[in-house]
């Protein structure tokens, strides 16, 4: 499979996965779940809030990082230096 086709598949998969993450974040924001989790440290569940925040940022960071890299591969002419 040529590299461009591979990159295109990656872009498709990552866009789908990231869309799910965006939907999740928007729905928990609008239904008040984020606010509930924001108040969890007061009831001793702060670690769960911390792990959730970290997981969201890690997932988003990795997905966006790889997605941007693959999009770059779709358009570039030569290899990286």
């Amino acid at each position: 499979m040529n590299p461009r086709k591979k990159s295109a598949i990656w872009v498709g998969v990552l866009c789908t996965a990231f869309s799910l993450l965006v939907w999740h974040m928007a729905s928990w924001y609008s239904n008040g779940m984020h606010m509930q989790m924001f108040q969890w440290p007061d009831s001793g569940r702060g670690l769960l809030t911390a792990l959730y925040n970290l997981a969201v940022m890690l997932a988003a960071g990795i997905m966006l990082g790889v997605l941007m890299d693959r999009i770059g591969n779709l358009f570039k002419r030569g290899g990286d230096r």
Binding site: W28, F38, Q39, G46, A50, N53, L54, A60, G61
Partner: protein
Amino acid sequence: MISFPMIPGVEINLYLLVFAGLGAGIVSGFTGVGGGFLMTPALIILGFPANLAVGTSITWVAGNCLVGGLRHGRLGNLDIRLGLVMVAAATAGAEVGVRILNWAKTSGLADEGVLSIALVMLVAVGTYTLAESVRRKKELDGERKGRPAVLAERLSLAQRLQGINLPPRIAFPRAQVTVSIWVMLVVGFCVGVLAGIVGVGGGFVTVPSLIYVLGVPSFVAVGTSLLQTGFSAAYGVVRHSMSGNVVVFAAFIILVASSIGVQFGVQVTRYVRAVSVRYILGVCILLSAAGTALKLTGVLVPETASWSGPGSLAVTFGGLGLTVMMIGSLFFLALRKRRGKGVPTWAQSFLGEED
């Protein structure tokens, strides 16, 4: 406008939030800073209370560093061993910093304390970085005109520190540095304390420290700083989340915007010389200091709020925009040079050679 239930009664300008993320991402990808020193004052200016601005900013930094670090890693600008040593020290420092911030929050001094510390650090680091890069640019201008090359003064400090014979000494091949681990730990610890107090990952201190104190090549310092900043920011995320200081949806919005900016910023580094990274970093830090100074004025002297508040907004966001334009201009001029077209004389020393 968007509202967050964690900040009751405050409407946040969504466009400015996205613009801040985009601009901070470009600067972050180009200079290797996490972007927290730009984002924390920006969030305070947009209406976030100081503790939420700090926690949200460092949460965004953690994600942003992953985006930029992955890209710099592909370009070979990452010394993982160096980054991990700095991480260990910075983590300890971040814990101390978070405790100091929480004490300030309970004492009602969070806004003044955070802004004051941020201001002092921004002015010190920005001034030194800009002065050194201006001096280096003059040397490069002279070399282009046929004057003999001059060894930059910054190397003497790095050489002295690398010469400290306090075992154990560790070699970092990618960074081309061999130095006592104690020097590394002190630098990393100080960076970590800043991360905890001010909500920055420490990149605006780490990058100049790696370059001027340890003698690491600029582009490797940029990439490695993102790795170290990301780890220390991740620890900060945990501590700030457990202290109720994080608006995660705001951090997510900013991250999406900044991820686009980071890619552009990283790409530009392939077209310019190392001195341009330090020059723009110095300018950016000083502009952020000016905005922070105005905000602090409004906090300390409430009667000045009518002009200090809008002034701070204008300087912070205007400064971010100016920095982004400078980076964009360098990219544009570098493309012109590669196509054999003329570029201004003042820009010659900033632009990289053909691949």
